[in-house]
Amino acid sequence: MNKNTGLSVNHLPVLTWNHIGINEAQFPETELAEVEFDACYEKSGFGKEIAEIFDNIETGMGAEAVAFTMNHCTNPIFIRVKEGEKKVIEPLKYTFADGAKVCDVTYILAEKNSEVSVFQSYISEDDTASYHAGLTKIVALEGAKVTLIQTQLLNDSSLHSNDLGIKIEDSAKVELVQAELGAKMDYVGCMALLSGYCAEFVADTIYYGDEKRKTDLNFIARHTGKKTVSNMKAKGALFGETDKVYRGTIDFINGCKKAKGDESEETLIFSDKARNRTIPLILCDEEDVVGNHAATIGRINENRMFYLMSRGLSENEVKELVVRASYESVLSRITDEEIRSKVDSYLERRMIIE
């Protein structure tokens, strides 16, 4: 670990020469009391076998981030949904004030044919510089369905890292819905291992870059199981002098016959000073697979702008309408009324632009 640059995170699964400088990223550490995570673990009642599955799950941000978050864990949460059970977990709402520092570790175990929905929200309540490092691991056993919805609205001086490691077994499905809209540094890493036959992974992420926010996203769908399906979408809008990096990798491992992976990115750029870098990778160690990458990156089409303005909407109103429209698939999933109204007013406030 390098104390000067912080944690080395969000590595591309393969180093590429032409992406030098963004093959990985750095995320700062913070001063926090050290804890023995194993002690938390014991209380979870997960048992050795299950603990081992969780321990072996790789995440999108990588080993250094995992170690840091676990060793400084402030909020350990263990969710276990028994075979055949259906559960909606009480929303996990973290509010940040007075320079709060939170390292939350959430483990979700969905047993055979169970269904669970988990909601995490991270919101600033004042302007102080907070620190958040989150680690969420999900194990979906045979036939289980897990939905994880996350919203992040930290203030412009706060640091946020959101690290995910997901293992999906036979016919299980994990759906990740993310609204990453705030913070000074907004770092997200997600690694989904589709190990079971017909395992499915869906990610729908929206991000919002403005002022000097740094957004760094690293998504990896690793297919090892046959007939596995992944679909990762990222949609965002860039304003001001924001700097965004998106790495999206579909990794087909030898043996994952008939696997299918899709990744798509939609980026609306509203500022000449905004920086946008995207690295889509499809790694094929197996021939019998289908991998697709699609990207639409750019400004609002001028015909569409004129059409909408001709109905009386100002340029800014059109921008807001178009951004909200691209966010709609994620926003509509935020059913917690309190958080939804905070997201709406956040966007309204931020989008009074240029």
Binding site: L308, M309, S310
Partner: protein
């Protein structure tokens, strides 16, 4: 009757290509005007220039609306003054439902908060009149609409926004026989003594229920002939050759 729109000696270009060459047009409140002309004459460009499409640069001349020079105004400001354009090729806007869009536009135009249920009822009635399936209200604006459905969506927007001047650019093209009748009924219902219509068409059917005040022939970026409704019949029988011939 007082003047609503005056286009005065307008020259306009796009991509350095001269399209309008000193065009003059005046429409009074309550009037219905028709513009005809061969493909590529500049008809849609004229509508675009009146609406304020920044793709077209007005190099000379002015556009007045209710006596005010609006040449420099942006499209949204013109819309709020009461100008509406039914597009020849309407845009698709994924993610925004037709109903939500109309609600935003209406609220924006009137500056008044909107009663959701009352608005929904009003919308349903308008859609019924236009023979539109109510399920279209919750579909994304024009996305996957057929050519004819898009034109109906334009007329629906016109009826919701109630402009003072509605410009209809080939609203009838792409409509089947029944749809033309339905749409022209919608237009007839919209029309009153205070608002005006500027209709671009290659086809007289949409005009059947309307009282036409003037018909203009646009050619080479200028109005080369203006007459009464009898001109429509003449164009339909003889084409443009005669009229254009006199010009050249």
């Amino acid at each position: 009757m007082s003047e609503l729109l005056r286009v005065e000696n307008v020259h306009a270009l796009a991509d350095d290509k001269q399209i309008l060459n000193g065009l003059n047009l005046e429409i009074k409140k309550g009037e219905t005007h028709v513009i005809m002309g061969p493909n590529g004459a500049g008809k849609s460009t004229l509508d675009s220039v009146i609406m304020g499409n920044p793709q077209y640069k007005v190099t000379e001349g002015k556009v007045f609306f209710e006596g005010e020079d609006i040449t420099a105004l942006k499209a949204d400001a013109r819309a709020r003054k009461g100008i509406f354009l039914s597009f020849q090729t309407p845009e698709e806007v994924p993610g925004v439902t037709l109903e939500d869009f109309l609600r935003v536009c209406r609220r924006n135009m009137t500056g008044q908060p909107l009663k959701v249920f009352a608005f929904r009822k009003e919308l349903k009635a308008l859609m019924d009149d236009l023979d539109m399936d109510p399920s279209y209200a919750s579909r994304y604006l024009n996305v996957g609409f057929s050519g004819g459905e898009k034109k109906k969506s334009e007329i629906l927007q016109m009826l919701v926004l109630q402009p003072k001047l509605a410009m209809l650019d080939e609203t009838d093209s792409g409509l089947d026989v029944d749809a033309v009748r339905v749409v022209s009924k919608g237009i007839k219902k919209f029309k009153n003594e205070d608002n005006s219509l500027l209709i671009i068409t290659h086809n007289a059917r949409i005009l059947e229920n309307l009282d036409i005040d003037k018909v203009h022939i646009l050619y080479n970026g200028r109005i080369i002939k203006t007459a009464g409704p009898e001109l429509i019949e003449e164009v339909n029988t003889n084409g443009f050759a005669n009229i254009i011939g006199k010009e050249d």
